[in-house]
Amino acid sequence: MKESDVQMMLAADVHLGTKNCDFQMERYVWKRRSDGIFIINVGKTYEKLELAARVIAAIENPQDIIVQSARPYGQRAVLKFAQYTGCQAIAGRHTPGTFTNQLQNTFSEPRLLILTDPRTDHQPIMEAALGNIPVIAFCDTDSPMKYVDIAIPANNKGKHSIGALFWLLARMVLQMRGTISAAKPWDVMVDLFFYREPDEGKDRDEEEAGAAEFAAVEYPAPALGMVGDAQWGPEAAEAGQWEADASAVATGAVPAGVPAVEWTGAAVPAGAGWDVGAAPAAAPPAGWETAAPAAPAGWEPAPQ
């Protein structure tokens, strides 16, 4: 379990549960916060993610796996996940009978089902039970575990959380299959898996135009936590904090070697520190090379 991954999960609020706790989720809970929110043990989340990834990688034909999300927050993540792993994605409403009614057009018999929320996706769970289909689901502290075979304890309410989890899962699956090497960080950004508000696209275009100048000016002086989208505002502040901690930490971090190579283009004072600091924002160095598009939106919440 790499520290960068853990930091990313924490930055994405994967560890935050809800005010209620299902008794079967108690084993994954770390502690209850003073304001009543249960904190999930992120270490266990990672382990269950690995278990789930092993199961997914063990299915010979990825087309037999269906990833599903009824909620909008998970739809983009699910589609991207399917794109990178070769599974089938169902975003939006699950037509009842897709797994049971053989006369339907959309009838399919998957070998595995991955869901974002057992509560909102209860219909596919019920049908999977009728059709001998094992279910993997991201379960929050208050999620019903009925018919869920592998529960990954995590926050399934926040868009960053869902995106980060699917990104991690996809990366793990690809690493296990051997498509990606585990030594190098994955060149796909986490941000790709985040849900984007429909009106956000318009704002971005405006800023991209203005940001072109910004990028040229700000580039040599690395503004920590600047990478990422507008949503990363508060997180960017945290990221800045991480960076502070990270630089204190020994620079002999494992991933140090590889990102350094990718950074040759940019002048970066705290080279090793970047590896760890960049992780929570999870925009790999490659994102910077292209500069303009990625940079802009993050400017406003600058925690300078």
């Binding site: 299915i59 010979e60 034909n61 087309q63 037999d64 089938q88 053989q102 006369l103 339907q104 057009n105 959309t106 009838f107 399919s108 018999e109 998957p110 070998r111 009728l130 059709g131 001998n132």
Partner: protein, 280 residues
């Protein structure tokens, strides 16, 4: 998989005949070829089975050796041809009762016929089907199909010495449906089936030679009576006896074993559908 679903023939989806009409356009070449050689289009439809489910495809291509393999993995059987494939010739059916049921409408009563059909191969497999329809014949046909879909393995055992083949139930089992409870008790060889006419038929189809029965409740309601015996027989394989104590050696599910075969796109048989155009 969604796409595959759209191309399957066989069962009538949505509009049934209307749907096949426009697919007939695509299969025009086929139509020309086949027309000469065919007689009754209806007969042809029954012979050519186009599997819709994964299991169906595996069975049709002979990848699955016996029904027991399907039972082992509790795979839902959705196509009756699967059962016919394995038990076809041995399977006999019997209509237990045609019950007229009525619903009141402002224009009088709307009568439909409910058919109870028991299907079995006198050797360990029984099925029970209930279907209601406006015509008796349709109801019976539908019930036979449902009965085949519901075929269950029946466990037989010995009363005493384990000589010869198992002839009775392995232990006392009881099944309940509605108010009717049926209890099956192992009997020594030669006792025959000691039961009322209705459960006797079911037990005969199951292949049980000797058994004592005891029933309770309103056995007049044939529907419940027959369902209760069926449920009873279901439980024979659900009962854990000492000879089953050995740990199971798990094997690969047929879906996993034949995943490569299943991944291949299966033939889109448009031609068969075209044959359903009117017989002249």
């Amino acid at each position: 998989m969604a796409e595959r679903g759209g191309e399957r023939g066989g069962f009538g989806r949505g509009f049934g005949r209307g749907d096949r009409g426009d697919r007939g356009g695509r299969g025009d070449r086929g139509r020309g070829d086949r027309r000469g050689g065919r007689r009754g289009a209806k007969r042809d439809e029954e012979e050519k089975w186009v599997p819709v489910t994964k299991l169906g495809r595996l069975v049709k291509d002979g990848k699955i050796k016996s029904l027991e393999q399907i039972y082992l993995f509790s795979l839902p059987i959705k196509e009756h041809q699967i059962v016919e494939f394995f038990l076809g010739s041995a399977l006999k059916d019997e209509v237990m009762k045609i019950m007229p049921v009525q619903k009141q409408t402002r224009a009088g009563q709307r009568t439909r016929f409910k058919a109870f059909v028991v299907v079995g191969d006198n050797n360990g497999h029984v099925g029970l089907g209930v279907k209601c329809s406006k015509e008796v014949a349709t109801a019976i046909r539908g019930a036979i199909i449902l009965a085949k879909l519901s075929v269950i393995p029946v466990r037989r055992g010995y009363w005493g010495n384990k000589i010869g083949k198992p002839h009775t139930v392995p232990c006392k089992v009881t099944g309940k449906c509605g108010s009717v409870t049926v209890r099956l008790v192992p009997a020594p060889r030669g006792s025959g089936i000691v039961a009322a006419r209705v459960p006797k038929k079911v037990l005969q189809f199951a292949g049980i030679e000797d058994v004592f029965t005891s029933s309770r409740g309103s056995t007049k309601t044939l529907g419940n009576f027959v369902k209760a015996t069926f449920e009873c027989l279901l439980k024979t394989y659900g009962f854990l006896t000492p000879d089953l104590w050995r740990e199971t050696r798990f094997s690969k599910s047929p879906f996993q074993e034949f995943t490569d075969f299943l991944a291949k796109p299966h033939k889109i048989s448009v031609v068969e559908d075209v044959e359903k155009t009117p017989v002249y």
